[in-house]
Symmetry: none
Subunit: 207 residues, 4 copies
């Protein structure tokens, strides 16, 4: 239909504004994840996004706004992921946890979502708004989800330490550990995450 008109190759304006915005968010994500907020240069972001530096300011108020938007927008998929876990059909807790860990490895640790976690950890202390937001949107929900899983398991008569309902942190801690370890020691002392999480899961639910 449009094929005839498309003969002339469009030089600029290859991307829609929203695509450009996404390109900037993506580039910013990479740069911030690699350098941290303060050490990142908007020049790098612009270069990597393939836009001029000024273009960033058409979409974001300033550097900090860009950073916050990156975190905010990245959280959506994480929530979706959480939901998909929450809606898993009823099954033994150990299998459920194995699935959660599997999800984490596949969709967080092996994607750039781990960078979000790392960024929240490293920059959160300087961006309380982000820490608060992340806690409200992700952490509290994840905590609730894990507590619920534990509670159901206990009600089902499984041999689970009831303290885990109060401290779901213990379930997540090794996940965090794997993210941090990966960022620091991947080269010098790599961690077999799958193996560790399997062991972890057995510790959590014994019998």
């Amino acid at each position: 239909m449009k094929s005839q008109a498309s003969v002339s190759v469009p030089k600029k304006r290859r991307l829609s504004p929203e695509q450009r915005r996404q390109a900037i968010l993506k580039a910013g994500m990479d740069v911030f994840a690699a350098q941290g907020f303060a050490a990142s240069k908007l020049d790098s972001v612009a270069d990597q996004a393939g836009v001029a530096k000024g273009t960033i300011y058409l979409h974001f108020k300033d550097k900090q706004d860009l950073f916050e938007q990156i975190i905010l927008e990245a959280i959506g998929p994480i929530l979706t992921r959480l939901d998909s876990v929450a809606q898993l059909p009823d099954m033994p807790t150990d299998i459920l946890l194995a699935k959660v860990f599997q999800h984490f490895r596949t969709h967080v640790l092996e994607t750039n979502k781990k960078d979000i976690i790392r960024l929240v950890m490293t920059e959160g202390p300087r961006f309380p708004a982000i820490a608060t937001f992340y806690h409200r949107e992700v952490i509290s929900k994840f905590k609730a989800l894990l507590s619920a899983i534990v509670k159901r398991g206990i009600e089902r008569g499984e041999n689970i330490d009831p303290a885990l309902e109060q401290y779901p942190h213990l379930i997540v801690a090794p996940l965090l550990m794997s993210v941090i370890w990966d960022g620091l020691f991947a080269d010098i002392d790599p961690l077999n995450v799958a193996g560790m999480l399997e062991a972890h899961q057995k510790l959590l639910i014994q019998g």
Copy 2:
């Protein structure tokens, strides 16, 4: 008028060079821990140390060198602490771990040593030398210590998952979690570390 009186009064030089160096290290530690490496200003460090900015360069090559020295010097006490744990007399593993956790809470979490851990975590990816050094000096030793504790326990016939010898990370993960949590959510959702670690210890050694 004043000239006569000040013949031999030592106005400046209230501190020895080494004291000055320590003051800078201490101040740098505080500033870097609070702001991160890139966002920290040597002005702040100098102010807080009570020295002139130029003085920093008499003791350290540049900003990065100061940062690395801070980490290096801070690691000594941690090692001492590890040693003291390693030399604890033989006792049941659960009690031993309880002591380790107790040590951690008292001498890390409630002191500025947690800032070292945080700094290594947040800046390590940008300072491979630090990550490597920290791994060699602290992590590997801590891993060995925990593995040894587990091994002894198993040999002693205690009911301990042998996988823990391979993955001592699982023992430490909640400690890391508490450091991170404290930095991010202390205000909005404080964590009862003592309670969590008690639960953790029971999970590790059941029976």
Copy 3:
């Protein structure tokens, strides 16, 4: 739903090109008067004119051209005003001057024409073309007009200092003063322009 109705409704193009040009000139006048040339943003002009920023460049070569056009176009009405004064029927000089001052108060000081004067004063040093143009089109004519008025009065036998023919500046000076004063001290020390000009007129023509 809306598509059917909008067959022939002229959505855009509510204004003719010339109307658009005028809107830009008007908006530019306001913005430049309020901010000065350098501090004015074409964004503000476009916003206030209700056009897109790029549209300005369809009508004006660049920012400086817009500025100069504003001054140029604004001078027309001033000249008309001068003419209307020049064509006043013969009458005693004091009454004539009173009329000139009255004109000034009504048609300059209480309209945005005072902004033109202010702009010429403040930006003139950086835009010699404007200063020259303004002098040729306005100042020299005004000077001639005032000199002629004075000359006629003297010929008519009125008691007027002949030096005023050579220095008509003295007649205008308080008008300038009122424009400047109004821009600076209107709030903190307002000036009764009518009273001042009345006194001024009496000083000029005594008898």
Copy 4:
């Protein structure tokens, strides 16, 4: 005493901090007077002052602060000048005014103090603090001085329009006019200020 040591010519640090500050103020004065606040670049100021750009920020908070300090510091000498006029011995008003005008021509119009007046006029509307300050420190005092001169003259029985006591603006207006004229039309239509002021003085005090 130090003569021996002074053999080696000091490369840098030729100026004391205060001298440097003054150099920046002076350079800023020139640049701001020539370009206006918004169009002035701190690079130009630094170049002209013979310092690095960063040095400006050791002495002034930001560009606006520099500007305000320039005005503030320049006002001191003006006040001194006013005082010296106020303390002139009693003499006929026409002679007194002639002296005031003479002062103005010599110490304002022919020095860079006229630039201060111009800057206050042109930038005052955007820097209310400056307008207010200038009014309080200079204008109000000058007004009071002129009113007092007029009053004394009247009391002395001289033939002076009493309205001048209320509108000393009329005495100053031609001075302002000369500053503005000089800035705009010096090249194309120079003004004989001395002649004009002489005529002005005669108009003010007749008989």
